[in-house]
């Protein structure tokens, strides 16, 4: 299908979910998870202010650069690893084809 990338999300129980993510809806990873009713709260709505969409990047995609707001929020979060990102700051784009992430504990 056009404008769709395939993304794998591993939930907190270790179950893998195959998601189809539209690249033309201005969505991010937090919103994508919510649209599939995966257990991602997205409390702050996507402003990098709550860390409830904290996830780890498992695949070899070059998207580890965090922005300042995100760094600052991850400073206050728990279970942070070097591959930690906030889902709300990862914009769904064609380059994400095949991305695999894991939801962090809350």
């Amino acid at each position: 299908m056009d404008n769709i990338v395939n993304i794998t999300v591993v939930d907190r129980e270790g179950v893998e979910h195959q998601l189809e993510a539209p690249t033309d809806m201005n969505m991010n990873m937090m919103e994508l998870c919510k649209s599939y009713e995966l257990p991602v709260e997205g409390t702050c709505g996507g402003m990098a202010m709550c860390a409830t969409c904290h996830m780890y990047i498992l695949s070899d995609h070059d998207i580890l650069e965090r922005n300042d707001d995100e760094e600052s929020m991850l400073d206050q979060a728990f279970f942070v690893k070097s591959n930690s990102r906030l889902g709300c700051q990862i914009h769904i784009a064609p380059e994400l084809e095949g991305l695999k992430v894991q939801l962090a504990q809350v």
Binding site: M47, M49, T52, D75, A77, F78
Partner: protein, 335 residues
Amino acid sequence: MIETDILIIGAGPCGLFTVFEAGLLKLRCHLIDALPQAGGQLTEIYPKKPIYDIPGFPEVLAGDLIDHLMKQAEPFKPGFTLGERAESFEKTEDGKFIVTTSRGTKHIAPVVAIAGGLGSFEPRKPPISNITDFEDKGIEYIVRDPNFYKGKNVVISGGGDSALDWSVFLASGVAESVTLIHRSKSFRGHPDSVQKVIDMSNSGKITLLTDAEVVGVNGTDKLASITVQAQDGSTSEINTDHWLPLFGLSPKLGPLSEWGLNIDKNSIEVNTFDYSTNVDGIYAIGDINTYPGKLKLILCGFHEATLMVQSAFKRIYPDKNYVLKYTTVNGVTGF
């Protein structure tokens, strides 16, 4: 005992607008909020963020919207119980509710409107299994009274403003010693506070441990020491009287989940006719409720509040006739 007509739990945008709409019907309101200031998420999480979907405001800062709502509510003289969490309720024989807060303040009203957003804001607790054993026995998530730490050895964790500011304050002649532990090398608090901490670390007033994390708490009947893990995985133990993990706040539904209300995924189920819950006399409006088609938007909360107070009026004055009046015709007459 604080008496009112509509007791609103949650002083966010939706709770504040309820005061205005209730006031038009000559109903008085009192608000309870766990945070020390009104505004809910808007003032606590994102006061400087612009909001673009408030009808009539092409762009408004969240903090400014709260200021406007406070001004709009002002003629109706709302009461506030701030910094206290609504904990429990009991029903009186004449059908009123007595709501008690975490500090024991009692309120009585014939109608309760829960406008609690995502719940009450509570400190984020580090994931250490026995941490609760030492709460208020050496571990505190909030500094209530700085003098409590006079002459004590204090360890603070966190990299935000509250961790930095309390480190500076307690190290300025209050505590015996202050150690600040932070997971990374860089601090993201206010640049002035960061500089102060660095200066005080250089002059030996604050012991600064970066790239480190507290992973264990130890003691018998009270906190005696903490276990700190460095980035390379090595651990060490630091003796201390107090540990203050200051990692900000996150919202929790909390005690409201025990009120016998029908709950679906952390939200309170309501009837969209008047946003009443399954408990007669208790309503739920704004982000905290759920119904088919629900959207968590401030503007939807305003609508819900408006319909809710009509129903509340009928509950309080079942025999009084009333017709909707327009503010353009009658203006706003306060109390």
